[in-house]
Point group: C3
């Protein structure tokens, strides 16, 4: 049973061609100057924003600009380049998808804010079916940012997984939208965010159970590198794999913080090597450093090595 | 879709005639002297208690006294006046409801302790159907105070909402009964209550998802105003909207702590104003202070302004 | 209704002959010297380990040694003596059960690691049906140690309870397997374990809702008695009833920490006495120290007194 699971699940992850998203940076979709700077940034993931970063009277401009710029960016992109559309309930999302996802160059990823119910996912699956061409598939990043979203989290993750089997998206990540979450439940964060610990840790648990990346909240004080670093490390310790970023000067600290330590990398590589040697013997179970190894631990090790390899490939010198 | 939701949901809240419950104070239903003092208290919500505040051999006296006193209190009450009955499993609840809710003056609110299952809610809906007259409806405050209640929390909230559609109660609030909760799971709280953080924050999340008030635990040391204030502020930051109170000298601190700050009020009023202006233009989505506005945030702003207005109306000088 | 519940549920617990598991200590199933020392240890619960404590090439030796040693240990055991098998997904569990549970002396308890789904429980129920003789029944300790296990926790507890009605196991405890949990979600604990607070407290809540013992994580630094004591007390305050132990020198501190305080014992004994006196009067509800008493609180008091009595019985001098 063990080996079959390995074959079915672990290697499936490989095929997906793992994309790290240690830093997920927003760039306003209406700001040409900032979009043109993306190429110079060593950032894992960029979100061309149609939502909060764009004033209401600029939405149409942003859609056109994004569609145009994707032609330049996508062919040579070393990063994950996505488009954050407006929420479905805003009434703007359909037009965002139609404009930005039907050009000659599809973004790698669709970032969908304010997902609250499984209906939202069915709606987006439906729109993608109509918009993307046969054979095209896009990554999906799901924003969890209200009380309702949290009480529906299990259903949202399950439905995303099941819709992805036949549909045109692949869910890759959950994002913790902490500011909208706080506004929606009337909470106020202090520096250690203890007030929303339940929600912040619940999100990690569900992300990991469904083998998704967990992307932590924005650190709003972009001139406070120490505070940023501390919050990165806190999120990392909880199991988060990345963080939202609102300013280029946050990228370095975030991406460094979300790199696994040397010890962790050695542990993970050693585990995968041991598994490979072990497979050659044809036996079922195996142990590593004194522990029986199970699937969740294999997956975690695989995620770590996938991260390292993809970072190396993208940026052979600096990382 | 956005505007339709606004019309259906936000204004429904208005119709309900929002009642703040920043402080929820218990008054033993068998203590005439204390009941007569209620009129002099500036407290949002009073619970005439049949449960823990009344010895077993005084239950019948308390029922009679409460029914009698409601005739005086209700006609001129500026507060929310409720009756806390005994739990359903005690076997005393049916008689409490029959006595206290069939007099000439119905209390505003029924406080139901130790709700653990949806069966409890169906039971109470049934009793109210038999006891209240056609057209009468009563607010319902639900106590969550055991491990079983917490694992059934989603079902309890859903069933309360669905029973209220056709039945004779309107669920308004969840109360975190922390002492019974601790006793039932064998937990012991320290000053910061970190031991029960999971439960305390889970309750807020579900309350907010179902648009209910979240009423925090009792601060038992009623001679420690600083400790009380600190715990109020902590609960407020988590999203709680009020707190249980066991002594009149706790009222002032609690009600002050659970008032939104001036900044928050300005934010909320500005948001509602912007929405009104925006509606005149007939457009769908809108932004406020740089954010796309969604339903949970609109609801939260509405709750804040409803609170302010209802406090002003009740107590034009002091608050 | 109240008295009926008392009769059906509280006294059912008594019949089960409560076994405390303040300390649950692992002994490698392949290490004869350590197994022979068990008899000299004042420990509530011993797990003869087939899993992490045994190298892969020693699994078969361990099964044989355990089966052999059970003949000596069980007839005179004052402790709860269990066998921790390998996880079901390892492919080794079936052989573990077949070997260790079909000898002349059945262990008291089966410890099942890495339970993730209800399928796992059905699988084990099926194997026990085939292995145990008619009329035999074994205690079951369930390990929760991955994100998937936590999202399925409600279903796992419900299925365990329902399978136990007709099957050959009685679920007694949930164990928080924090190290595997951290590895599987990529978390890293600091000294206060705040990073995994959500999971740690969720486990207690579900354990208590299903009237199971909650057994806390391992304290790995076995030469740090102060750190151990502090973590014991923290877990105890959250509602945990015991802790996993990896070294004999941890037993004393753990078992002392997980004894209820004198105050708690007096409270619990007083409550049970009051209930007995009260039953003689034939009335329904009753109060104790100013509180209406409900079922969860009765159960908790019963658990405390059961613990005290079972410890006294086992070890009349030292405890």
């Amino acid at each position: 049973m063990f080996k079959k699971l390995i074959n079915n699940q672990i290697f499936q992850v490989s095929v997906r061609n793992y994309k790290p998203r240690r830093a997920l940076m927003y760039v306003p979709g209406s700001d040409e100057r900032k979009i043109d700077k993306i190429r110079s940034l060593q950032v894992d993931c960029v979100a061309l924003d149609c939502e909060d970063g764009v004033a209401l009277n600029k939405k149409e401009d942003a859609r056109k600009l994004i569609t145009e710029k994707l032609k330049d960016i996508i062919p040579t992109a070393r990063n994950d380049v996505g488009v954050r559309v407006n929420s479905i309930d805003s009434g703007l999302c359909e037009e965002d998808i139609k404009s930005c996802l039907s050009g000659s160059h599809l973004p790698h990823t669709l970032l969908l804010p304010k997902v609250e119910t499984t209906e939202h996912l069915k709606w987006v699956a439906d729109k993608l079916n109509n918009t993307l061409e046969t054979g095209q598939k896009i990554n999906l990043i799901i924003y969890i940012e209200s009380a309702i979203a949290f009480i529906n989290l299990h259903d949202i993750c399950k439905t995303a997984a099941s819709l992805s089997e036949t549909g045109k998206f692949t869910p890759t990540s959950l994002v913790f939208g902490s500011d909208d979450f706080c506004a929606s439940i009337g909470a106020t964060r202090t520096e250690n965010s203890n007030e929303i610990l339940y929600a912040r840790q619940k999100l990690v648990l569900y992300a990991k159970a469904f083998n998704l990346q967990a992307i932590d909240m924005v650190y709003i004080k972009y001139k406070d590198p120490d505070g940023l670093k501390s919050q990165c490390e806190e999120g990392m310790r909880m199991g988060y794999t990345g963080k939202q970023v609102i300013h280029p000067n946050q990228i370095g600290i975030v991406q460094e913080s979300f790199m696994p330590s040397i010890d962790t990398i050695e542990w993970a590589q050693g585990l995968l090597d041991a598994f490979e040697r072990h497979q050659a013997t044809g036996k079922g179970a195996f142990t590593y450093r004194g522990s029986m190894i199970d699937m969740p631990t294999m997956k975690q090790a695989k995620n770590i090595i996938d991260l390292i390899q993809s970072v190396k490939k993208k940026d052979p010198v600096n990382n």
